[in-house]
Symmetry: C2
Subunit: 300 residues, 2 copies
Amino acid sequence: MALPTSVRIREVGPRDGIQSEKAEVSTADKVKLIDALSDTGLRLIEAVSFVSPKAIPNMADSRQVWEAITKREGIVYSALVPNRKGAEIAAEVGVDSMQVFIAASDGYNLRNVKKTVEESIADVAEVAEVARSSAIPLEGTISTAFGCPYDGDIAPERVVEVTRWMSELGIRTISYGDTTGMGTPRRVREVIEALRSDTPEVELNMHFHDTRGTGLANVLTALELGVDYFDASIGGMGGSPYADGATGNIATEDLVHMLEDMGISTGVDLGALLEAARVAQSFIRGPLPSKVLKAGPRNH
Amino acid sequence: MALPTSVRIREVGPRDGIQSEKAEVSTADKVKLIDALSDTGLRLIEAVSFVSPKAIPNMADSRQVWEAITKREGIVYSALVPNRKGAEIAAEVGVDSMQVFIAASDGYNLRNVKKTVEESIADVAEVAEVARSSAIPLEGTISTAFGCPYDGDIAPERVVEVTRWMSELGIRTISYGDTTGMGTPRRVREVIEALRSDTPEVELNMHFHDTRGTGLANVLTALELGVDYFDASIGGMGGSPYADGATGNIATEDLVHMLEDMGISTGVDLGALLEAARVAQSFIRGPLPSKVLKAGPRNH
């Protein structure tokens, strides 16, 4: 059981993390955070989202953020887009990569975008068309892949089905979201094994939450199955919808800290990452969930 | 790679958890907590500690706690003891099992009991003698087994060496403590493999902390190596010495929640466990680190 010797980490704090914050975050603070993240060795940063400003007020200044950040050579700055309109803005401003999302469960998708999953596929198709015509790489996200707070357990076959729909539209790198932290090592293993067997053409990214403490255990399971591409959020930004102080995304520094101690290269400098986490902490209300930020690295 | 189908969990909150609390906890609250834990299906509860009341003020009423708790048939209520004096009190009150401790590292042992590890072995021998003569089962604890905040990384060979010293005294069940949360899956694997190879006569218990987010990932690694005996603390009581709000022990409810969803039987009722966690929360200052207590079980 050889683990990967290196992994890629996509930093989602500036988008996924800040999106969930109740307090308004200023454009200047967002830019400061992204610029700090660009100094860490991270090569993939989900920077902005072109969504309805009514739905997600904290992303309303995405154009301004995009224009103001310092874009470093060698870093892919991506944007999340829900539909054709968002994709067209992303193409217009010239993002390096786009990401389009859908849920595995109707219950979640209906609450998120007022459509069933199958109905949402039409939006995904339109985004794929815009991405292709503007020659911008496109990745997919399938949320609630390990459980849905409304529909309960999600069968791995269902995750495969939704993956097939995306794959048929040419989306060949897909992120699987444990949106409300219902994943455990058993479920992660079942989903990955089903995908490897039934949609081997798709490259897998795992997007885990630590809502119930299983975040890094799930990472370990995915590593054991050869997955080498993970999402994480600086400081663990992006709390759980369940309760104040509950944890959402795994913290980038906790992930890097564990992987580097396991001899798995991330290309990220932990000290610089902790600096970026302190930038995030400067504008986020309440303590960030990150553990390494609180306790410091194991040898310090 | 078949995981164990069932595991034993020793609840350490009443001792290890409360011991670390800065605020004084009343005898009545301790008794209430232990009685609540006795209602959960847990079969092993570390209830008290016969240590110097000057060193650990929150354990000064251990005799009173011991007398007042309702001892349920089938539950092993144990006491931690540091030396002959503690062991004699434990024997006198009639505990079901004793636990004696030592560190893997001199740096930690010197700060904890002002002796090197080798010097402490004399105390362990005396405890073993008392346990034997009073026919009370004795287990050992080796702390800092995955890293020491003073001495840094600990070689697995050193953990084996200290294990041998204990084993030669007849202690054949030993708990390995990740005292300040420096363990990662790689180190856990290295230590367990070394112990399995060099001291196969010893039954292993793993005592993990979640200080840097690796608590349940370390549990998963141990499970994969066949370990089926774990410590955990209700509510995650017993914070990290590093920072206010930092996490120490893994929470019993987080452990049970993950294991049961993986089809690994614990014999523990999660609902009753959450009730006990709420009892703990009623007298602990600040929010407990437990995640399932905040977010609720995955299907609720």
